[in-house]
């Protein structure tokens, strides 16, 4: 079902695709604005 939706939105309309991309960028940036220093990802805790 997700495939169908993403296919229809993303393949056909470059404006919509641009907006979706913008939404992703903004979500990541707004998360960045909220986070404080000192939170290290697990993945990098060990060698």
């Amino acid at each position: 079902m997700w495939e169908k939706i993403s296919q229809s939105i993303l393949v056909n309309n470059f404006v919509l695709r641009g907006l979706v991309l913008a939404a992703i960028f903004l979500a990541i940036i707004f998360t960045y604005l909220e986070t404080q220093e000192g939170n290290i990802s697990f993945v990098y805790n060990n060698f």
Binding site: F14, V15, R17, G18, L19, L21, A22, F25, L26, I29, Y32, L33, E37, G38, I40
Partner: protein, 392 residues
């Protein structure tokens, strides 16, 4: 094929435009909210990271003409005469903004001054400790925890600062920010700006869009954090204390006497129990080899003075001496200490700034509350001198 590429590039372009548009609108909204909060009076403590490692709240203090007191751990001295209780007073009635924590020394303070131009009537004082000159160089971890990426970038964007100073600061940071830690991006930037060889110039151009973007994001984040702080902080009354210095001095002596009962060094009891009594024998003369004037801190201090000159600060420098009995025992003789104070005073007057010398009080009981931090009589004495200096 070409159509496809154009369509993808078109999407990317739209994405970038929309993102930048939304962020600009948000920044504008934050500006409006901050303007509404401009006159809210709040406590500006040291140890407030949003303030001390940011830009907006410090700029706000400069704009509003607050009294800015820069220092390190002595700002948190556990005595009632702590500056937060002495200021504002009838001689210096400006609200106080205390800035700094342990290990924030000349280099980071210099960068901070370089990042934030003073106004013509900015009143700033700074406490310098002898401990900064121990050990040859600053502690890396301490520096990293006090490091402010946004102040560093703002400093680097300040055209009034000569390239040598920027390279000096960058070279120092490249060394101090290295190793494990979360300051990788800033450390790389510092490395690239330490000198002008081919690799650095190339690296700088390639990474320029990234660091500009990051700087703008950091500015936005700083505004947002400042907004949250001002919005949520308790509004305080503006209370100007009326201090009779003489009377306060007698009170201070009495308080000190009460707290220092279990030792002959005149340090408060808990401090003696926790830090001194166990290792007392080992400490004898263990610092006799320290060469205070060989420390990198001396170059950092000169850098700091240069930044003060360039950005229009006229700092009142307070040279904190130390608990004389303790440091004599540790092997840092009066001679060594006086040489440091003389050097500091010479460099400071050469730049046209005033200072307060406290060497006469190294053996004054209750001037210090422990071996290195201003105490009951000390903070009162310093507070009185600051008030009189700026009051005239």
């Amino acid at each position: 094929m070409v159509r496809k590429i154009a369509s993808y590039l078109g999407s990317l372009l739209i994405a970038i435009l929309v993102t930048v548009g939304v962020l600009s609108a948000y920044s504008h909204w934050l500006d409006q909210q901050l303007a509404l909060l401009e006159h809210k009076r709040v406590v500006l403590d040291n140890g407030n990271r949003t303030k001390d490692q940011g830009l907006y709240l410090l700029q706000r203090s400069v704009r509003q003409g607050d009294f800015i007191l820069v220092g390190t751990s002595e700002l948190s001295s556990p005595v009632p005469q702590n500056p937060k209780n002495i200021f504002p007073n009838q001689e210096l009635s400006l609200p106080i903004n205390m800035v700094g924590r342990a290990y924030k020394q000349s280099l980071l303070d210099g960068i901070m001054l370089g990042a934030i131009p003073a106004s013509d009537n900015t009143k700033m004082a700074m406490v310098v400790s002898m401990q900064w000159f121990f050990g040859g160089d600053i502690d890396k971890k301490g520096t990293q925890s006090n490091f402010s990426e946004i102040q560093y970038y703002a400093f680097m964007h300040n055209d009034a600062i000569p390239t040598e100073s920027k390279q000096y600061a960058s070279e120092r940071l490249a060394k101090l920010l290295s190793g494990e830690g979360q300051v990788g991006a800033a450390c790389l930037y510092a490395k690239l700006h330490s000198s002008d060889n081919v690799i650095n110039v190339l690296g700088r151009s390639v990474l320029y869009p990234f660091y500009e973007g990051k700087y703008q994001l950091l500015l936005l984040k700083d505004k947002y954090n400042a907004y949250k702080f001002l919005r949520d902080a308790e509004e305080i009354d503006y209370e100007v204390k009326n201090l009779d210095w003489q009377q306060e001095q007698s009170k201070a002596t009495a308080m000190g006497k009460e707290k220092c009962t279990n030792n002959s060094l005149y340090v408060y009891d808990e401090y003696y129990d926790k830090y001194i009594v166990q290792d007392w024998e080992k400490l004898e003369d263990d610092m006799s080899k320290e060469k205070l004037l060989d420390s990198k801190e001396t170059d950092d201090y000169k850098f700091f003075l240069n930044m003060a000159v360039i950005n229009n600060y006229k700092p009142y420098m307070i040279f904190m001496s130390a608990n004389g009995w303790y440091y004599d025992y540790r092997g840092i003789t009066k001679n060594t200490r006086y040489k440091l104070y003389d050097w500091l005073e010479h460099e400071t007057t050469a730049k046209g700034f005033s200072y307060l010398d406290t060497r006469a009080y190294e053996y004054e009981p209750y001037f210090y509350c422990d071996v290195m931090h201003l105490g009951w009589k000390g903070w009162l004495y310093v507070g009185e001198n600051i008030s009189k200096h700026f009051g005239k």
